[in-house]
Symmetry: C2
Subunit: 347 residues, 2 copies
């Protein structure tokens, strides 16, 4: 397998990206191609231990930054590491691409350069959502690519998320929940009510739909695939991050307030560290863009070498277990279920 890595995307590129690739090169038998400024990448690579059999560099002279407008950047920066990497995947010179760069550009680039899987109208961003108490993680889909969605789109998100959790994260028959303001099928607006009916029907194709789920139970891990529109997904993700940060800050304040508290906190140091690790998303790999014809994985913009390693390692089953082919087949099946339910597809 050839894994294309955007060497220039992310806050700590190229140093941490290259370091992550170097570490990973010693753990896997696949080839990692780092795309970007050859001189800068080579210089970084020379400073870290790596398996040179597994790493190569492809030069790209431009960089897409976080400030670039996605569509403009993809159209104009033809020699950027991202566009060049995507084109390599398109032309069969790579099996998947991983980038820590501008999310909008990665999404747009995937869409414009690689194209959508047949039948998919709206690709989605899947984001790993860790279950702090239960352990493990689920997939929140859509995490922000499509602010408004039709029932048809949400059915596709459920299908793709379910396949991802099974094939990539190795979960048998992942539970699929639809985010709503109550658990009854009659809750929410027209879109959610219609989606509920479609998802009920999709059980015939093996989607393990468990019904509507509320905000309160999302963090408990009641569902492995958390289905919602991008607006809702964005709010769930960011509110979770914001609250976790707020609470950790508060703990820190409280636990350093006074001598007795400081001693107590000292005794709990190890436990606090364990707790902090539970908030660490990177252990579960990157965020897949699902619905695109080739595997595209977005890792966090602030990824360090360890997050890059985790992103690459966790993405390998995406290719090995033929996620794209499985999605392509499954979409045909759920679409025909939807057609027989409505006479024709609702969108």
């Amino acid at each position: 397998m050839r894994i294309i890595l955007d060497g220039m995307g992310g806050d700590h590129a190229p140093a941490e990206i290259v370091k992550g690739a170097a570490i990973t090169s010693k753990l896997i038998g696949h080839e990692i191609v780092i795309v970007g400024d050859e001189e800068a990448i080579r210089r970084e690579l020379d400073t870290v231990d790596h398996n040179s059999q597994n790493i190569s560099i492809v030069h790209a002279s431009e960089v897409i930054t976080f400030d670039d407008s996605p569509v403009k950047a993809i159209r104009q920066k033809k020699d950027s590491s991202l566009v060049k990497g995507l084109m390599m995947v398109k032309e069969g010179e790579g099996d998947m691409i991983i980038s820590a760069g501008n999310s909008g550009a990665i999404m747009t680039g995937g869409l414009l350069l690689l194209g959508r899987i047949e039948g998919i109208e709206r690709p989605a961003l899947g984001s790993v959502y860790p279950f702090m108490e239960k352990g493990g993680a689920g997939l929140l889909i859509d995490a922000g690519a499509n602010s408004e969605c039709k029932p048809h789109n949400l059915l596709h998100f459920a299908t793709m998320g379910s396949i991802y959790m099974e094939k990539v994260l190795g979960l048998q028959s992942p539970k699929v929940g639809l985010v709503n303001m109550g658990t009854e099928p009659s809750k929410g607006g027209k879109v959610l009510k219609e989606t509920y009916v479609l998802l009920e029907e999709s059980r015939k194709e093996g989607i393990n739909f468990i019904g509507n789920i509320e905000g309160r139970t999302v963090p408990t891990g009641i569902a492995d695939v958390i289905v919602c529109d991008g607006m809702t997904g964005n709010i769930i993700l960011k509110l979770t991050e914001g609250l976790a940060l707020t609470i950790m800050d508060l703990l820190k304040q409280k636990f350093t307030d006074g001598a007795v508290a400081k001693i107590g906190a000292g005794l709990l140091y190890g436990k606090m560290k364990e707790l902090k690790e539970l908030f660490d998303y990177t252990e579960y790999g990157g965020a897949p863009i699902l619905g695109i014809k080739h595997p595209v994985i977005k890792i966090h913009g602030s990824s360090n070498a360890n997050a890059v390693r985790s992103g690459i390692m966790k993405a390998i089953p995406f290719v090995e277990n033929e996620v794209i082919a499985t999605i392509t087949e499954a979409i045909k099946k759920v679409d025909s279920l939807e057609e027989s339910l409505h006479g024709e597809a609702s969108s």
Copy 2:
């Protein structure tokens, strides 16, 4: 002032409701009328210290439960404590009503029996949202009454929420934020984009609109009035509760795991208690139903005597500071702003 209290609504009614009224009767110079099963209420009242000058009972033979369908209950249970209490407010026998009962029934009862403020199409549920780190609290509006909203409705929520924070919680020029998936005015779907324009315009009428706010900053208290549709509001509220519970559970697990941790936790006992209190919504009073012609306050279904006391105390400025009259005037003004912006109101 005569405060009508639904004696039969809530998990711990009538005992805790009556106890809360009894405590409050000694703190305020207003009259509290408890509506419900006279015998049961009298029995409870006899067991607790109270100021009998300030408390009276009005008998009602029926009870609306959490399992009742709101519309059906309001129409059929004419002699329920809630319907009777609402009718007393309508007929001028009470200045406001407070209930810990079925939220849907309180909303529906307010709407059907008391009616909407002129110009308001959709009344909203405002929910107190505590800012754990910064301290204090904001108002999340709508917290779940209207799953989908038009820009016009969201403008009204912003207006009403702003007045509530100023007149009831005593905040000067409260900051109003629109929940969105990014801070740029162009973010989100059609409804949010149009709402942004309306809220910008509403600054002319003194609404302190600070722009779009993201999930990440909601808990920090960046905005005092958190404006969103009921679906989004419900998710924010329930996810916040769910996460806070999850994290407190986790802390408990970690801090009782091993002898050293237990000693550390023992030393932090006081701090942990302080932390727990920050999650306590009841200190900030109940949730106002805004847009109804008379003051209606919903307190949490699990309210104990202390939450009842807090709910009553915090609701007094609602009447004293003439929130309803202020909202009525303000709605006329923002509606005419909207008309001059569009030629006609957009809904």
